[in-house]
């Protein structure tokens, strides 16, 4: 019920904004998002964190009974944490935009709130159609935010953003539809319940799963974005208004990784095991490639946008390592990236409001001009670099550990199921690790230009009419929760790890129960595909092997435990 409130409250407030005078729009929006935060806290408090499965805080009502469609929402720890992130970023975006948005305020705040509802809907949907509707509906508010409130090249950016991600999602829909159809074939009735469809999908053979995985990845990889399909992101980020960028980096990208976590892994486990090394290669290319591109940017917003591509590469790498450490790291990455990169976009927005430029060539050395801003900037840069003690490190190192761990360590003490990457695990970790060096290079390069060095301001610069030279109390208030979040997340992440432990371990167990312990998977990939090892996978499920490696025993133990 509380989840329903979290969806409905922003919608109601959006309605109120439409029917109230323009001057009140921002206050209604702020109020609405703060009320959401209150209910978000209620949801967190009401939640039983030791439990896996997406069956808490549920609310179900029939929708289209003929098709088995339900309005069915609920949460597990992972989705609830992402909902919490979404809701936390709500007031931050609203209050952060008070001075930035002066025209069409009603449109802006109303769509911002609607966007929040849609995002919460994505994370708590238990019905596939509901998920998909919310997933696609996020595009419309974002499209409007970019197209109406963006910078100079906003039309192209918004169109590209919409069409690109929409095309991907439509292919994902085809994958979903295929699974649903198979379900109706198997069981004789239509259902879009995610858990039920997951069972069906796992029963498909390997080549069917491969197609499902391909279709789902087409939708989610674009959203993440994974390496070759990332080009919409820098454009959209650069052109979006500050609040849009924060939401985009903070939550919308996570729809992709959440989709991979929630659908790709449990729906197509056999295919995931087969294709994980390929996905990992794409992720690593993304990490290094996007990182290096960051280095040569002059527009700092574009730099941070590309850094998202690089960072999300770690997230995907952890997911496709499919072991507890990697997937937990990845889930934590989804949240942590929302804090640090969201905050960086806010910082850039604050600078932009004052100088009306984001070019490192025009503005530099703000350290003495805006000491408070600079302090926050260095802080969030360090969070983004992955400095231990701050949020970025916790998730990044866990993704790397997970990657490393899914190497050829059969029988070693520190290793339980899953040599997902085979011999390549440590190599992947090492290459991805160079991303940490590259991150230091480009982020410190940016800091060195913008914060340190001799002060330079644009020629036609004159003081902002409303804003002080340095940050105002409102702006500091917006940044402080994020900074505190980064710090707490970095120093005391153990509760979060414990919270996501149960659902993550379940997901890992789904996949690894099919792992035959064949550490050379990637080497024999082509051969394996000509075989009918799909049937192997099915046979493995639930069987006991006495003659297999220790690894299998681990996995069997584990899947027994997870349920």
């Amino acid at each position: 019920m509380v989840l329903l409130l979290l969806i409905v409250i922003p919608l109601i407030c959006a309605g109120l904004i439409v029917f109230n005078p323009r001057e009140q729009a921002k206050y209604i929006a702020a109020g609405g998002s703060l009320v959401s935060v209150v209910f978000g806290v209620v949801a967190l408090a009401a939640f039983n964190w030791s439990q896996g499965g997406m069956d808490q805080l549920t609310f179900t009502t029939p929708w289209v009974p003929a098709l088995g469609l339900n309005f069915d929402i609920g949460a597990d720890a992972v989705s609830l944490l992402l909902i919490a992130l979404t809701i936390l970023l709500g007031p931050i975006c609203v209050i952060g935009s008070f001075t930035a948005v002066v025209e069409n305020q009603k449109t802006f705040y109303a769509w911002l709130l609607i966007l929040q509802s849609a995002m919460v809907g994505v994370f708590c949907a238990r019905d596939l159609v509901l998920f998909y509707i919310c997933f696609e509906f996020t595009l419309i508010p974002m499209y409007i935010l970019i197209a109406m409130f963006g910078s100079s090249n906003r039309r192209k950016a918004s169109t590209k953003f919409f069409l690109y991600t929409f095309t991907g999602s439509v292919i994902a829909l085809a994958g979903f539809a295929y699974v649903a159809w198979q379900h109706s074939v198997f069981t004789g009735e239509w259902s879009f319940n995610m858990a039920a469809l997951g069972e069906t999908a796992r029963a498909l053979n390997a080549s069917q799963q491969a197609w499902v995985l391909l279709a789902l990845m087409a939708g989610f990889a674009v959203k993440v974005p994974l390496f070759p399909v990332h080009t919409w992101l820098p454009l959209a980020h650069t052109e979006a208004p500050t609040a849009g960028s924060v939401i985009l980096a903070g939550v919308l990208l996570k729809l992709g990784t959440y989709g991979v976590y929630k659908f790709a892994l449990p729906f197509a486990p056999a295919a995931v095991l087969d294709y994980a090394p390929f996905m990992a290669v794409l992720a690593i290319i993304g990490i290094v490639y996007a990182g290096l591109i960051c280095w040569v940017q002059t527009d700092i917003k574009k730099l941070v946008a590309y850094s998202s591509v690089s960072h999300l590469g770690f997230c995907m790498l952890g997911l496709f390592a499919v072991n507890s450490v990697g997937v937990t790291g990845s889930v934590l990455y989804m949240i942590s990236h929302g804090f640090s990169t969201g905050a960086l976009f806010l910082m850039i927005g604050m600078m932009y409001e004052r100088y009306h430029t984001r070019s490192m060539k025009e503005v530099s050395g703000l350290g003495s001009k805006m000491p408070v801003w600079s302090t926050f900037m260095v802080f969030f840069v360090m969070a983004s670099v992955g400095l231990p003690g701050l949020n970025g490190f916790v998730s990044e190192i866990m993704c790397l550990f997970g990657t490393f761990q899914s190497g050829p360590w059969t029988g070693q003490a520190g290793v339980t199921p899953g040599a997902t990457f085979g011999m390549l695990g440590p190599v992947f970790a090492a290459f991805a690790g160079t991303g940490m060096i590259v991150a230091a290079i480009y982020l410190l390069y940016m800091t060195g230009k913008i914060v340190w060095g001799p002060t330079r301001e644009p020629d036609d610069h004159h003081a902002h009419e409303v804003l002080p030279t340095d940050l105002s109390a409102r702006e500091i208030g917006v940044l402080l929760p994020l900074a505190a979040g980064c710090l707490v997340f970095g120093l005391y992440p153990a509760p979060l790890m414990k919270a996501v432990e149960a659902p993550v371990n379940d997901t890992v167990a789904y996949v690894q129960s099919l792992n035959t312990g064949d550490t050379g998977r990637v080497m024999v990939w082509t051969a394996a595909h000509e075989d009918d090892h799909g049937s192997d996978h099915n046979a493995d499920h639930g069987d006991t092997h006495t003659d297999e490696h220790a690894q299998d025993e681990h996995s069997e133990d584990h899947s027994g435990e997870g349920h």
Partner: protein, 756 residues
């Protein structure tokens, strides 16, 4: 304390008893953190007094006292104090099915040893900095002390952390503080570049460390020292190595040490990752003294000492460390000889001395390396602080060609004496602390079997001579001879007041006014240091002298440091007998020493170790003294002032001219190349930075043209289709109507055809 029981079997299973430490030891890390928090509030409330300095000094002194108390009550034991759970994840109940790292602290003799000099020196240097940084009161003063406190906190995490992720936390934390403090004068592009370089080069090492940590985790299934060093797996490996079955240790376990070593090279500025340290001298001098000479840069030595059991598993790690250390020592010494900036000379000497430490810890006795860490911490901090005092007093002047005769100037005597004490130590003049610690390392080189170690020994001896030369070059040029000086360029030096003259003047500098600087050189009066700086220099001088005494504490265990290490992981099991062997040389009581080790292994080692047919430990005192004194003599001849103690040495009558000029001319390009650091920076730039930059541009172009181009192509296809159909759209109303009617007609026609 137990005495050494050097049979191989008993060494292999030295049981480690880990207790839990009393809660008050958490004060050691938390007090520096408290200083950070309080100073952050000072920053928020824009405190314009010296309050931040006093807060920091008080907290660090408290931390030092807590360490000292811990030393008195807990030394000889191994304890763990857990703060809270940091990483906590499990996916099963079995061994290695947890990923756990506590925010906890591991206290044994090794950490206590390190923490004693870290907190002690940090307190002293904070006192020094309270005066040194006073021109920035109300501006960067608070920022300085926030980073300073944070550094000490990070250092405690690094040294005391009870698992490898805590070590990593401290490792990168000190890197951050180093970054912030090198870039303290953030208006200077050089400082910004140096800060960035330090962080990035360190990150390269950090990647090695991270991989080492990951390997440790997958191999031993734990990250916690207590579990790691108690694990039977590790004990089994060590037993295998001690019994000569090194091949039984899996490759992956051997690789751990190799990767950790890369991390150590980065943090401790060893070749090829040493390039950041000399540039790091752009930071304020107290920072150079504390972080870049005494404490942070020794973290690599700490890492190896802490993980020594793991390093012993690898056949290559320690030899590589020894070779790299020696090479770095030589390389940095040759560069240091040709520099003119005294702080830079000290920086290169730090790199060089770190090379000694690495060589030392990689040799059979870890004691020599660690002892050198301790002695070096004191005398190098002293040297840096003296250089800082000079720099402070002469408006940023650091060029030894423009300073002369400070000994004879009023108010500079404490600095001069401090400098002399530091130089004597660094040059390894007999009976100084530096002499003993360096000898221990060099002698070990001749004793350690295999891998051409005696070549390393000779190289280190030669380098010791070079060290003595460049050290006293500075002393003779700057502190002796005629009184001559030129003030530094304010804009260049770190005493950079130019960025805010108005505010500077408003503060009013009691005792010595900075307005003088503005009037040019004619009216320049150097301002000698006042009480705080002199006090710290005097204290450090005394401590640097006293550090020699540590050598004579519990001599049967190779000095106090050996005594401390014996109860820690840095105790080199492989050669426990051997380190004791060196000991009898000190008191000449060979008989007593022989009693403590009566195993065959000793004989074997002794057979390997000889220098020109003598026992290295016996003759090293004389040989190294000869090298050191020769270096000093050479320095005196080439740089000494006219009329020094013995009339024939030196003929320098003005600051900028000496005999060395002719020598440098004779060897022309070589000194210039050395002055330009053998062009290593340029080489790196050419080999790594530039290509990476080019690759980045290529990637950007690919991204724009190819990756995005393909996307745009797909977006363009429908449009292309539309272009094809475009001519059909005339825009004329009647045209549309006709075509519609025609269309209906065609449909009707078809319908009729079909129905008929």
């Amino acid at each position: 304390m137990t005495s050494i029981s050097p049979t191989l079997a008993s060494m292999a299973d030295t049981a480690l008893h880990v207790g839990s430490a009393p809660a008050w030891v958490l004060a050691i890390p938390l007090l520096p953190m408290l200083a950070v928090v309080l100073n952050t509030f000072s920053a928020i409330f824009r405190v314009k007094t010296k309050l931040p300095a006093w807060i920091t000094i008080a907290c660090l002194a408290g931390s030092f006292l807590a360490t000292a108390f811990a030393f008195m009550t807990l030394s000889g034991q191994t304890n763990v104090a857990t703060g809270w759970k940091w990483f906590d994840l499990s996916w099963g109940a079995g061994q290695g099915q947890q990923f756990i790292a506590d925010f906890g602290f591991y206290i044994d003799n090794l950490t206590l040893l390190w923490m004693l000099f870290v907190t002690g020196l940090a307190t002293l240097i904070a006192v020094y900095a309270s005066e040194y940084m006073e021109h920035d009161v109300g501006k960067g003063y608070t920022r300085f002390f926030v980073a300073f406190g944070l550094f000490v906190f990070s250092m405690t995490c690094l040294v005391m952390g009870d698992n490898m992720l805590m070590l990593y936390l401290g490792w990168e934390g000190v890197g951050l503080c180093s970054y912030l403090l090198i870039g303290y004068f953030y208006k200077k592009p050089a400082a910004v570049a140096a800060a960035k370089k330090a962080f990035i080069v360190n990150r390269i090492g950090d990647l090695g460390l991270a991989i080492g940590v990951m390997l440790t985790f997958v191999h031993f299934g734990t990250l916690e020292y207590a579990q790691l060093f108690q694990s039977e797996q590790l004990a089994g490996y060590i037993a295998a190595v001690l019994e000569g079955r090194a091949g039984d240790v899996p490759l992956m376990a051997q690789l751990i040490a190799v990767f950790l070593m890369i991390g150590a090279f980065g943090k401790s500025a060893q070749f090829p990752l040493y390039v950041w340290l000399p540039d790091a001298m752009e930071g304020p001098t107290p920072v150079s003294a504390l972080i870049h000479a005494a404490t942070m840069v020794t973290a690599g030595v700490y890492l190896i000492a802490r993980m020594l059991p793991v390093f012993l598993l690898s056949e290559w790690a320690l030899p590589v460390v020894a070779w790299v250390g020696t090479f770095t020592a030589l390389l940095a010494a040759t560069i240091g000889m040709a520099q003119f900036d005294i702080k830079r000379i000290m920086a290169y000497s730090t790199v060089s001395q770190l090379g000694y430490m690495f060589a030392g810890i990689a040799m059979l006795s870890s004691v020599g390396g660690v002892y050198h860490v301790v002695t070096h911490a004191f005398f190098k901090a002293l040297l840096f602080l003296c250089c800082g005092a000079v720099m402070h007093g002469f408006a940023g002047q650091l060029d030894l060609r423009k300073l002369s005769g400070l000994w004879h100037m009023k108010g500079w005597r404490v600095v001069s004496v401090g400098m002399l004490v530091g130089c004597l130590n660094l040059a390894g003049v007999p009976f100084t602390a530096g002499f003993f610690s360096k000898d221990m390392i060099i002698a070990e080189a001749f004793v350690t079997p295999g891998y051409g170690y005696s070549l390393l020994g000779w190289t280190l001896l030669f380098t010791a001579g070079l060290t003595a030369y460049y050290t006293f070059r500075v002393f003779f040029r700057v502190f002796t001879g005629p009184v001559q000086y030129e003030p530094g360029d304010e804009h260049h030096g770190e005493d950079d007041h130019s960025h805010d003259h108005a505010q500077d003047d408003a503060h009013g500098h009691d005792g010595h006014s900075h307005e003088d600087h503005a009037h040019g050189h004619d009216h320049f009066h150097p301002h000698p240091p006042r009480f705080a700086i002199n006090f710290v220099l005097a204290t450090l001088s005394v401590l640097a002298v006293l550090a020699a005494g540590l050598y004579f504490v519990s001599p049967e265990k190779h000095g106090w440091v050996g005594d401390m290490l014996e109860e820690s992981t840095a105790h080199n099991l492989y050669t426990a007998d051997h380190s004791a062997a060196a000991m009898f040389l000190i008191d000449g009581d060979a008989h007593a020493a022989h009693d403590t080790h009566a195993d065959a292994a000793h004989g074997e080692h002794a057979a390997h170790g000889s220098i020109l047919g003598f026992n290295p430990h016996e003759v090293m005192y004389y040989i190294s003294a000869i090298f050191g004194l020769t270096g000093i003599g050479l320095a005196a001849y080439l740089h000494g002032p006219r009329g020094m103690v013995s009339g024939f040495l030196g003929n320098r009558v003005e600051a900028g001219k000496c005999r060395m000029d002719a020598v440098a001319k004779a060897f022309d390009p070589i000194p210039r190349w050395a002055e330009n650091k053998w062009y290593v920076d340029e080489f790196y730039h050419f080999l790594f930075v530039r290509p990476l930059w080019v690759v980045s541009y290529i990637f950007q172009t690919i991204d724009k043209l190819l990756v995005d181009g393909l996307v745009n192509l797909f977006g363009y296809l429908p449009r292309l289709l539309g272009r094809g159909a475009q001519p059909g759209q005339s825009g004329v109303l009647h045209g549309y109507a006709l075509s519609m009617a025609g269309g209906v007609g065609v449909i009707l026609f078809i319908v009729v055809l079909v129905t008929l």
